[in-house]
Amino acid sequence: MRAGFADPVFESQRVFRGVLDAMAEPGRVITLQAPPSSPGLLHSATVAIALALLDFETPVWLDGAAETAETVAHLRFHCGCPIVDDPARARFAIIASPGEMPEIGGFDAGTDEYPDRSATLIVQTGGLVAGSGLRLSGPGIATEARLQVNGLPPWFWEALRGNHARFPRGVDVLLTAGPSLVALPRTTWVEG
């Protein structure tokens, strides 16, 4: 068993602030302070977000690569979150192997009355570099932002455009790579 945050209150507040900043400025790369250790294949940013945001009220779905006994034990102990088998019931999803992830439409997109009751996908990537690559536009971006993402399948971006089209429903995506985080909320339009 591994340790969680050394100082749970202040460290989770810092991570929360980081996620808030990332959501407010889609495409901006935020570096989160890493927790002491990460179980299984999880990146340190993924673990930091999990420790800060998950609790007993947020059912979590893990993909096959993420769902190791060590990771499940870590999340259960430190977050107390239920682990669910059905992606549609999850509030958060941790996806360690995006190439094999289920369709984005399979996750809870909220309802027209309560679009906030949707899932947030934490997708681990091979690297996040701002300044070149994909074009992002939408709320929180003055003109356009550029973001290069390694290790995601090409169909992912098409699926994200489909997610954008469902507004106000839809899921929000947090991309992680090591300690780095980029948020792609449902309002962001992504072009190859």
């Binding site: 068993m1 591994r2 340790a3 749970p8």
Partner: protein, 149 residues
Amino acid sequence: MTGSTEARARWMSALAQAEPAAVEAAWARLEPEPVYRLLRAAETGLVMVRGRAGGTGAPFNLGEMTVTRCSVTLDDGRVGHAYVPGRDGRHAERAAVLDAILQDEAAREALEPLIIEPLVAARRARQQETRARVAGTRVEFFTMVRGEE
């Protein structure tokens, strides 16, 4: 409940319900001083205590109590937990480390008579003292039968 779970429940209960000072004294007797890492530092919160009238009725909420919990791990991977009443983080941390140590069979045989039994005995003595004190004010209630039938 398996035998080992029962035994563990017994020592966890003894450590949790002991006086913090008694746990501290037991800690001082440990040789050498244990090496451990904190998994979850001591934190204080509330738990709802539930009861059943007569032990068999529908459950009801009796009230909340303050509890401090702590989890530690030893170098060999054994994990110890403690939930103790009150706000004494040091008590919780000591109890969690002792829980981890006692899971080893050899350590348990050596330490249980030395540490756990005195704590159990002290608690029993405290309870008996309380019983003796309140026995003097005991009132027996009974209902008069009016003999209508």
